[in-house]
């Protein structure tokens, strides 16, 4: 089974690239282009970059533009400011290991503003090439490869697959806790407890990884839920790793993003001064969507100062994060203000009304999307349908892989199967990004509906 999955790994992506090539060469297909919603890649899905951001970056890259009247004044001033912070006035020089100090400071101010004034200390913040790089570095410090029993990390099911890869590549063991699909993917403390119990004799759990807002499941944790998790981490002595990349992607009614940092601080002693917390964010999602620039950061709270020194060394041997990415982070955390010429152009991403469409399709169900960038609907196939699909599938792959493969070939929509993220045994899901522009989303849902009806008819 594992080997089958290994073969499937990357196979869908390769086929998608092949189809894209074939279309470019003029091969006839039932669609003119592939709708690529496989990753949380906003620009790849058609979202346009923010003009202000790109103008500033261009002027930083090619400083003669700073004297050009073709660019708005605030752009030119901002570019000048950013370049003034670069060593030698060039985006081509290395920065300090933790990041350009003024940008690290901007991030700390952003966190403070976001969290209602709770201070954030710049020396606890590290910028890295994307958030996953920071996650990897912190995991590296936590995971003792020589330990017996092996180090364990609690992860949600479903979970962002790249983090799972990071954990296992470091030689640690994943300890899954199942989010409750029936309760809109709620995180239940009893389930955390069960997961911890299951680790006895298998591994030694040291950390609890949480994604809020979720990926692939589109939930936003309530403040009460966040408090429960913090309390659990405190009681059970677990290091909290909190992936908050989608904090700017909240749209559910009565949903609000509250950071773990803020909640921890407001819970007061004994929690606020003791729970060790690493919070991750990046420039890849939200309204910038600059995945390709590779810039993210981690804020570390309540860590042992002696350990912090080693963390600094680990980041310093990586040299530094790409400077353009760092500047984009600055533009995200210190955006144009009301009154600035470029202010009106900064806007939020909102999803389309996918939940309604998905739930209107028989054999598909999805809790209301509250946040994040993905829909993770469940394929409700009868056991007979599952069997039939398995038999039809060329390589006897699971129904979710089979569904995604067929959807790609026949519908020209590139999604990913639920097994990549983990799912309860016997359930099948698919994941796709919902942040494409409206017209693309409409086309996606149209193709998905049409394909789905045919599929359900063939496999009922």
């Amino acid at each position: 089974m594992w080997n089958m999955k290994q073969l499937a790994y990357g196979a869908l992506a390769r086929r998608a690239n092949q189809i894209k090539d074939e279309l470019r060469q003029g091969v006839r297909k039932p669609y003119k282009e592939v709708i690529d919603v496989f990753q949380g890649d906003l620009h790849g899905a058609g979202m346009k970059p923010l003009t202000f951001v790109r103008q500033v970056l261009a002027a930083c890259v090619y400083p003669p533009l700073i004297n050009s009247n073709n660019l708005p004044l605030d752009v030119r001033q901002r570019a000048q400011k950013e370049l003034g912070r670069c060593v030698g006035g060039s985006v081509g020089s290395y920065s300090a290991a933790a990041g350009i100090p003024e940008i690290v400071h901007s991030i700390s101010e952003f966190i403070k503003r976001r969290d209602g004034g709770i201070p954030s200390h710049p020396e606890n913040i590290y910028i890295s090439p994307g958030s996953q790089w920071s996650i990897s570095n912190i995991l590296n410090v936590l995971v003792n490869r020589e330990a017996s029993p092996r180090t364990g990390v609690l992860i949600p099911v479903p979970c962002y697959n790249i983090t799972v890869l990071s954990i296992t590549q470091l030689g640690a063991v994943t300890v899954p806790y199942y989010l409750s699909e029936e309760q809109a993917w709620a995180l239940q403390v009893e389930e955390l407890q069960r997961a911890l119990e299951s680790a006895k004799g298998v591994c030694s759990p040291v950390a609890l990884y949480v994604i809020n807002p979720g990926n692939p499941a589109g939930y936003v944790q309530s403040q009460k839920s966040v408090q429960e998790v913090i309390r659990f981490a405190w009681e059970k002595r677990l290091f909290l790793l909190v992936d908050e990349l989608y904090q700017d992607c909240v749209y559910g009614e009565n949903c609000e993003f509250v950071s773990y940092k803020r909640t921890l601080s407001e819970m007061g002693p004994p929690f606020s001064g003791t729970v060790e917390l690493a919070s991750f964010h990046s420039v890849s999602k939200g309204f910038l969507g600059e995945c390709g620039l590779r810039a993210g950061y981690v804020e570390l709270v309540n860590l042992d100062p002696a350990v912090m020194k080693h963390i600094h060394t680990i980041f310093s041997k990586d040299s530094c994060a790409p400077v353009l990415g760092q500047i984009a982070l600055d533009l995200m955390t210190d955006p144009p203000k009301p009154g600035d010429p470029s202010y009106p152009l900064y806007k939020q991403v909102g999803p389309e009304n996918c939940t309604l469409v998905i739930n209107s399709l028989p054999g598909f169900s999805c809790p209301p999307l509250e946040g994040g960038l993905f829909a993770f609907p469940r394929l409700n196939l009868t056991p007979k349908a599952v069997q039939k699909a398995k038999v039809t599938a060329e390589m006897q792959e699971d129904p979710d892989t089979f569904y995604c493969t067929r959807l790609l070939e026949e519908g020209g929509v590139f999604t990913s199967p639920g097994w990549e993220y983990g799912q309860k045994e016997g359930t099948y899901h698919i994941r796709f990004c919902i942040a494409a522009p409206q017209d693309i989303m409409e086309e996606l849902l149209r193709r998905l509906s049409s394909f789905h009806m045919t599929f359900m008819k063939d496999f009922s």
């Binding site: 261009a58 090619y62 290395y94 920065s95 936590l142 995945c291 620039l293 350990v307 060394t313 790409p322």
Partner: protein, 493 residues
């Protein structure tokens, strides 16, 4: 395992989860001298200067890190024009940008998702850029074929180097992978090996012979290492860092032969391949030599070569662009390699775009060619001049011995320290060359990296200085170091 929970009257006292005792012990062994304690002190001093504290100098000269732009080197105009066009494609309408820049930008953008450099690329890197890299390698190596599937773009060369090491390091106890690296070496290697818990096998370069590499020394190091580990990898930096030596073709052949005989994976760090200054020296890529040695070698020796956008004439460290070319890798291993690089998602796209320009620069028939060549030549010839100047001036100082800076960006002179100074250093709990460099920093505001950060023969001392400051400033720096050395020697005589 120490329990940090102590029950007192039934109440648990909570200690930290992550402590020096519980953390990954390998991480504790990691050091990276280039950005280490002396640099931290330099940054502190810069803060003090800003606050108005009086010192015998008005600025700190950071000759510790191979950062050309930080020292005033100008970027290549053409590269920055294309990158600006990629960043803000509306500029494609701007007549002030040359046509060849626009064409390059359009081609790159077409290969990006959503025509944006903000989209993810595949983990291996944008395909047409890998094709361009392969073509560059073929041209450089006299037509020896390069397969784009064997090219992996990366976040600087360091990222690729660490990735390959992750693939290679395994085993327990006596079977633990041993990795051969030159002494002195660029401390990314020692840091990565410590982090991975690999065994570092030191082979000493010959200081008395221009830091040359001897096969007898390789053999000695390997045989000694076989007693306690499983040597599988041989790393070589050419042109060298910190030593600047450029390996002769014969030497490269000998190394390849040695690697084949002893069944070692070759890692060839070639990031300074355009930085060759000394007469009679020439860069020979390991790939080229390997293939010219015939199929007995080219079909069997497993190798990875590394390059980057940070050095040479570009100096674009902040873009984090780089690649590796792998040769004769087992296909199943390649499948694992893809998984490994997917953890990074993808290399920074601006860095990929920059790499594309480096391997695909303006051609003689293109409008930007003349300016490009002028800028490139100026940078490289200035570096050559500074290399010569550095060697010349340091060799006039009694107590400083400087080998020719044949290539790269650094000098690694040997310094003679009076016994009293060595004793004083020990008293202060400092390694002698760190004591020396700290003094230089405090007295003259010049930041170098002590030789101990790179490795050196027992009882010898060195420092690494970059040759990157602008020529006039470099002359002043060399003069100040000269004066400092004489003063220091006098003080401790």
């Amino acid at each position: 395992i120490v329990t940090q929970h102590t029950a007192v009257n039934g109440i648990s006292h909570r200690g930290r989860v992550l402590t020096l005792d519980s953390m990954n012990p390998n991480v504790k062994r990691v050091e990276y001298a280039v950005r280490g304690p002396i640099v931290q002190r330099a940054v502190q001093i810069e803060k003090e200067l800003k606050e108005g504290v009086k010192k015998p100098f008005t600025e700190v000269i950071k000759a510790n890190i191979g950062d050309a732009h930080a020292m005033g080197q100008k970027p290549i105009t053409f590269f920055r024009q294309v990158l600006a066009l990629c960043s803000y494609p509306a500029l494609l309408e701007d007549s002030k940008f040359p046509e060849d820049a626009k064409k390059r930008a359009q081609r790159i953008l077409e290969a990006c998702g959503g025509h944006s450099i903000g989209a993810y690329s595949t983990s291996q890197g944008i395909e047409c850029i890998r094709q361009d890299v392969a073509r560059y390698i073929e041209k450089r190596d006299g037509g020896i074929p390069s397969n784009p599937d064997n090219i992996y773009l990366s976040t600087g060369a360091s990222d690729a180097i660490v990735t390959i090491l992750k693939l290679l390091v395994c085993g327990e106890g006596r079977d633990r992978t041993g990795v051969m690296i030159s002494i002195p070496q660029y401390p990314l290697y020692s840091a990565a090996l410590a982090d991975l818990g690999a065994v570092q096998i030191n082979y000493y370069l010959d200081e008395d012979n221009c830091w040359s590499l001897n096969i007898t020394e390789l053999r000695r190091a390997l045989n000694a290492a076989r007693e306690h580990c499983n040597p599988r990898v041989l790393c070589i930096i050419n042109p060298g860092n910190p030593t600047g030596q450029v390996q002769s073709r014969q030497c490269i052949e000998d190394v390849i032969r040695f690697a084949k005989e002893e069944h070692l994976f070759l890692m060839a760090d070639e990031v300074y391949q355009d930085n060759v200054y000394a007469e009679g020296c020439q860069f020979h890529s390991f790939k080229k030599v390997l293939f010219e040695m015939g199929p007995e070698y080219s079909n069997t020796v497993e190798m990875a070569s590394f390059h980057s956008t940070s050095k040479c004439y570009m100096g674009e460290c902040g873009f984090r662009g780089g690649y590796m070319e792998v040769i004769n890798l087992d296909p199943e291993v390649k499948a694992q390699l893809i998984k490994l690089v997917s953890v990074r998602l993808c290399p920074p796209v601006p860095g990929q775009a920059l790499l594309d320009l480096v391997v695909n620069p303006p051609q003689p028939d293109e409008p930007s060619y003349a300016t490009f060549m002028k800028e490139r030549t100026a940078v490289l010839s200035t570096l050559a001049e500074k290399a010569r100047l550095t060697e010349q001036i340091f060799n006039t100082v009694p107590g400083i011995t400087c080998n020719p800076v044949q290539g790269a960006m650094y000098t690694f002179p040997g310094i003679t320290l009076p016994q009293k100074a060595i004793d004083k250093a020990k008293e202060l709990g400092l390694v002698p060359d760190m004591f020396y460099c700290m003094r230089l920093l405090e007295e003259d505001g010049i930041c170098l990296v002590p030789g101990s950060g790179f490795g050196q023969r027992e009882g010898t001392y060195h420092f690494r200085m970059t040759i990157l400051p602008p020529t006039d400033k470099l002359k002043v720096v060399l003069q100040k170091i000269r004066e400092f050395h004489l003063r220091f020697t006098q003080e401790f005589s």
